[in-house]
Symmetry: D3
Subunit: 147 residues, 6 copies
């Protein structure tokens, strides 16, 4: 899924690493990621670059699939709390890399045992906003049925 | 205060446990709790059920009074941070089970020594929104007087 | 339970406030609190003084009973995480102001719904260490019975 | 992988749900989970029961595989901080449900971008203690190679 | 920079300490701090007083300059998460005591390695709102240049 | 204080960036940082590399002095909680870049207003361990005196 021809993480200039990271960000987060980058432009462009470099250096590593990475990320953002904007970006990303809405909701249900209900509820409502925006509500009967 | 005739936490179907939990939630959280449940319906109904079951299994235990439980809960939600929606629900619940606005404000003042002023301030402003909604402001002179 | 004759929170020197706070700390936390103060002496005595002043200014306020304050505190320290030393001090304090071991354990069970099981487990094991030290284990059958 | 014949989450007594949860816990966490349960016996057996019921009700749901659940869990425990004992249990669980040490280490590397290096380091050293105990160190060259 | 003639932290009445703290708060936080105090008036005036006393007792200590204190504070508020209102107050305070917008943005870039990108982004956008309000955007080319 | 001749953050190979970061880490954290790197070697060497690259890319930026960076870092690690090992590394680093023990203790006293006393106490005791190891205790009378 990541752009061919890139030579990530070997000899390359800072600009090449930023550009590669941007291509990875675009592939994973789409428009939501680009909005964050643009919002940083007039205040902290270097933070934006570091996010891009981080994306390029970590996301493209083959040791974990993009889908697996979003599961870890959903868990982290739910547990951290106060990261609803990032959760929205990553619920979008999760859908983009193949997680179904039902799997996302299930991951947040699962999180309630580890982070408690308040964090799980906040994350679920962030997910709901994304699902709504993408016309995915109501979710199918699998999620609705208790078993 | 909890519904008579229930046989919580012994032999019963999942649906019975959900129904019992709903009656406990209604008694403690009132309309605020029901709004959360309704908001979950089209996205994560099973999370809603787990919240209800948790309410039914834990809140009705006689080892701690409903008033005591809200004191613990206010402490937790203040410390967690980023749980203002849940704080609003539980400030309402705290009033419903007999804590006075002055006691709630005092619990949040107390919290400042353990969580720092920012978390205490955020929680106090969440409480203020609830007090305002219920027409309880300004608080009486006990809270206002330094001693 | 707090020392008579004190005139907390009105005109008094810093040293008087420190001394009054120390008498409150002794009444609430006993030996455990004094150990913390001694450990600060050669590194951060002013932090110790601020803790004492905080105790004197907040704990002695009549708006909330010492028992109520410990319920809030147990909730906060469980939710914060990584505060096991403080939890041990305050489980001791909770016992000193009249909470039973069964009520403390119940507060931590209650916390699991809001903070998740990991935080609740860590707090419960901190409580267990205190109960063990004070010869209170095993807890009576009320706690052991599910209902 | 979960015990056949169980009828999770439908009509059953509390004891049946506890027993089913115990079989799920044994399958996922093995000896590490049983040690936690035993440590709770003389202080908070009901908390142990709630953990078991939670395991039975959530882990066995088919909407997310056991491997997926451990990815979410590793993310959460890393982000929460101060949950090193639980991380050790769940690194064991992660290995039991098919995650390789290299994938676990990669999930924690991934986490550094979201939680920062301190949390990622603490989690990695918790994982290292488990790998050591199970004779898995040093990890193979895939993890060691930067590409 | 703090008001002459005050005798902080020695013999003085509670009211004198509050008044001195208010003068320190005004000097550091300006209008933003006063807004918070006013919002507390009808709900938790004693919490406001404790904030003022804390300001008076800690901020005016000569062991650390006001600029140094804001660096520590920006780090804390970024790491805590969910403290965006306080971050706005303290980005204002940071500018008031001599930190440049470029230094503030750099502190938040620095924080990303310790707290992760989500917390750093939330803090940066809080800073952006303050910079905007004070007509400081876009930041100069030093911040914009990667080197 | 950073190695001359380096051309950080422009065209260079990954290995050059790692090597440069290592020279920055050595200058800031000394032996304590190297111990962490060695501990990662057989389990997560890439995480170690990312830490080094992060150090090289961020610490050497001229927009904030090394002393300023440690003030921000002490604030963050105190607020995060559960980062005592990292606090020890960075108290060492703080001393290495010119902060006095009295300034470090003052920063942690300052933190108590924002993070609460438990986090401030844990951080202070981590600092105490480092001071002890370096033969700096007891601290001079400036810290001990309330004024």
């Amino acid at each position: 899924m990541f752009p061919e021809g890139a030579a990530p993480r070997t000899s390359q200039t800072r600009q090449e690493r930023i550009d590669y990271g941007r291509s990875v960000l675009d592939a994973v987060d789409g428009e939501a990621g680009q909005r964050v980058m643009r919002a940083l432009e007039d205040v902290a462009p270097v933070l934006g670059e570091q996010v891009l470099i981080g994306f390029g250096e970590i996301y493209a590593r083959p040791q974990l699939s993009p889908r697996d990475r979003q599961l870890v990320t959903l868990g982290m953002l739910t547990a951290l709390g106060g990261c609803e904007p990032q959760l929205e970006v990553h619920v979008n990303a999760a859908l983009n890399v193949g997680l179904t809405p039902e799997e996302i909701v299930e991951a947040l249900l699962h999180s309630s045992a580890y982070c408690g209900f308040p964090r799980a509820l906040n994350a679920t409502f962030a997910a709901k906003r994304v699902f709504e925006e993408r016309g995915l509500l109501p979710l199918g009967s699998e999620a609705a049925s208790a078993q």
